[in-house]
């Protein structure tokens, strides 16, 4: 089921910002989307993906730093679930796609990113210790230190 309105805030884990541009789904719903053929689009940077990758049948990796020039590689007629580490960068990427004509019904953001994906025990390739250790923080958390590829 699509949820359109609430968004994870990178600044405060107790607050949620309201946004209406991008539909968001949780990792569990993402599993259902994947089963029916949706493509995951991972916007984390290369070094993050080398450490830990989503293990799904269909995935495209376009780092956020290259997204502006490479987003046209994505098919506009496919269902795309945009993912990252915490759901913050992927939200911006999903918004970017919708602003560039992609269908907001077919392009969604996965809330809470790899952090929640790992917590749920969904399949990954690589070392999850970095995610588990940083569980309390997250990218761009208020007052926190910058993580690799953050923001």
């Amino acid at each position: 089921m699509l949820k359109r309105s609430k968004n994870y805030s990178p600044n405060n884990h107790n607050m949620e910002h309201v946004q209406s541009l991008v539909n968001e789904i949780c990792p569990t719903t993402t599993q259902a989307w994947v089963k029916r053929g949706a493509i995951l689009v991972d916007v984390r940077e290369k070094e993050e993906v080398q450490l830990l990758a989503y293990d799904v049948p269909a995935i495209i990796h376009i780092p956020l730093s290259e997204f502006e020039i490479r987003y046209k590689e994505l098919a506009m007629d496919k269902e795309l679930v945009i993912v990252c580490r915490s759901g913050s960068r992927s939200l911006r990427a999903a918004g970017f796609l919708i602003n560039h004509g992609f269908d907001p019904v077919k392009v969604v953001n996965m809330k809470h990113g790899m952090i929640r994906w790992v917590q749920r025990g969904f399949p990954v390739k690589g070392d999850i210790s970095g995610i588990v250790d940083a569980n309390a923080g997250g990218c761009c958390n208020h007052g926190g230190e910058k993580k690799s590829g953050c923001c």
Binding site: S9, E68, H142
Partner: protein
């Protein structure tokens, strides 16, 4: 002049905002400075990497901290 610093409130965004204030102080240029942390507002500008420094609605620096020297140069162009 209107200056906007777009970012989710991370350290890099705060540094950029502070650098803008310092650059304005050093140059004596008058400007309205806004810090935009709201995700929906940011998406209106198609922001991907943050922070973004916008001067008069034009994105001048994206995805990195703008230092005081380069902001001063942008202000006095």
């Amino acid at each position: 002049m209107n200056i906007k610093v777009l970012g989710p409130g991370c350290p890099k965004c705060k540094t950029t905002y502070n650098n803008v204030l310092e650059a304005l102080k050093q140059t004596g240029v008058e400007a309205q400075v806004e810090k935009i942390e709201d995700i929906e507002e940011m998406m209106k500008y198609n922001v991907l990497t943050t922070p973004v420094l916008m001067i008069d609605e034009v994105a001048r620096i994206k995805g990195r901290v703008a230092d005081v020297k380069e902001i001063k140069e942008l202000l006095t162009q």
